[in-house]
Symmetry: C2
Subunit: 217 residues, 2 copies
């Protein structure tokens, strides 16, 4: 059945959206239901916290190493937050994609826009709160932010919605299970796209069989 088939590239699934939209919860639930998907691991210059493991939670590097990685264009995106660098290493992501694994990347909007510049064939999904009121409620209910931070977050969520045009899909996170099902549908649909299957239908026509990427579902 599988003659003439080369491994198909996995998908880079970029999960992004404003603070409070529920990106993290959605990603964790997606990964639980789709254990073959790889969670992208970031490089950081901050110190490891108790229990954090190299290559699992982060790749821990010193500042000069990080900066030489920037020099060498080794990041899909990076940013400095409170004096520490964080970045998504191309090598880790591409290694898994080339092996046919999907990679999921949970990232803020500025990061997603950088990734898009470097890797346009990623699937860019904007996680949307069901309403701005609910977004505010979620930010407030964390209980850890000052009123100033809450207002700032809320204001930037409002502004960030203007960047939706840079994304491929919007998923409303009113219920996590529904949001995850939509992301699963998006991933399945993307794998059926003509643009992603050109080699394969030519192969079929010439007598081969199509390696059906969605057989695992």
């Amino acid at each position: 059945m599988d003659r003439d088939i080369k491994q198909k590239e996995g998908l880079l699934i970029v999960i992004s959206g404003p603070s409070g939209a529920g990106k993290g919860t959605v990603c964790r639930s997606y990964l639980k239901r789709n254990p073959d998907t790889i969670l992208s691991v970031s490089v950081t210059t901050r110190q490891p916290r108790r229990g954090e493991k190299e290559g699992v939670n982060y790749f821990f590097r010193d500042k000069s190493t990080f900066e030489s990685m920037i020099e060498n264009d080794e990041f899909l995106e990076y940013a400095m937050v409170y004096d520490n660098y964080y970045g998504t290493p191309k090598e880790y992501v591409f290694k898994h994609l080339n092996r046919g694994k999907d990679v999921i990347l949970e990232i803020d909007i500025q990061g997603a826009l950088q990734v898009k510049k470097n890797f346009e064939k990623g699937v860019f999904i904007f996680i949307m709160p069901p309403s701005m009121k609910e977004l505010k409620r979620r930010i407030v209910s964390r209980g850890t932010e000052t009123p100033e931070v809450i207002m700032k977050r809320f204001k930037s969520a409002y502004d960030e919605i203007n960047f939706i045009d840079q994304y491929n899909y919007i998923v409303v996170n009113d219920r996590v299970d529904k949001a995850v099902k939509k992301i699963e549908a998006i991933v399945m649909a993307e794998k059926c796209k003509v643009d992603r299957n050109r080699d394969f239908y030519i192969n079929i026509r010439e007598g081969g069989c199509l390696n059906d990427r969605s057989t695992t579902k």
Copy 2:
């Protein structure tokens, strides 16, 4: 919850592909699982057969009526087959789309290419046999075709695969249930596309709620 919401347009789902790929079986199974989806009804100039009902199987019209409909640009596509016209009426399709219903259209490749010219925002799905060998087996196993017709069908299937670039998605029909699940995923994903939700995220940002089109799933 639903204030400020206007009805969203349904999707036109165009199911196409070579003879023997199994378009008909896939469509019937999709409709069974998704009874809210409307099957497009064609206009024809051929005589009704026993049991066929006006507006259910076809809209039966005489030749001069059909030709004036052509004149008035009332078809998404039409063709003449064995001296009879067949066509997909815009009015019927648009009426349902405007009510928010998805419409499914099972059609050969020449027809699909015409529809694309007239309605680019349709979702064009190419149903692909798992192999050319299997395609040949399916055409032969109908038992109704002469060897000449079989060779002609097979040859045109081979040529038609060149038109895949005009489609959005390829779905391999190795098993009907899997093919249908992929079409369901495609429909769900298309409804999450940024391009199809522009009005809605602006509405959310300005204080409304998003009318989630996939809540029925």
